[in-house]
Symmetry: C2
Subunit: 91 residues, 2 copies
């Protein structure tokens, strides 16, 4: 599984220092037929809605990348999940 | 964007010969706190339901990979989308 390997290697980089709650979603669409309108932007909205059922996501905390090439479009969502309030707001 | 680069490089391999309609979804969850129950398996179901609004997906055509490590869990969905019927079923 090349993709999982990729994630594995990026894990080392990302969570070495700070432990941060983070959700990363990638959607890659390989199209057989070009020229059809893309549904990924809309799919993105719906996926975000689903995710917000599980975690409390501020839409400001979502960074979105969308790239389109000939036969492939890739949507990337990076979501930083706010910690449950257990520190960080001292009186 | 390392992730997009990765997708780019895997595109070369995958779509060199046959043009196949394909959707690949990755969800990586970096957890700050271990030991909480995972919501990814359930998220997976809901994401699939969303996707089925856009494309006609046979659940048999979905291959799922789930890996869990200490602070990261990764869910991978690979979906082959059946072509709109324009060939392949000759009388």
């Amino acid at each position: 599984m090349g993709l999982l390997d990729y994630f594995r290697s990026s894990q080392a980089k990302n969570s070495a220092g700070v432990a941060k709650e983070r959700l990363q979603i990638l959607v890659a669409h390989d199209r057989a037929v070009r020229g059809r309108p893309s549904y990924l932007p809309q799919l993105q909205q719906e996926i975000l809605e689903v995710i917000r059922k599980y975690v409390d996501v501020d839409l400001d905390a979502v960074s979105v990348n969308y790239e389109q090439e000939d036969e492939r479009e890739v949507l990337e969502l990076n979501i930083v999940i706010p910690d449950a309030p257990h520190a960080s707001h001292a009186p």
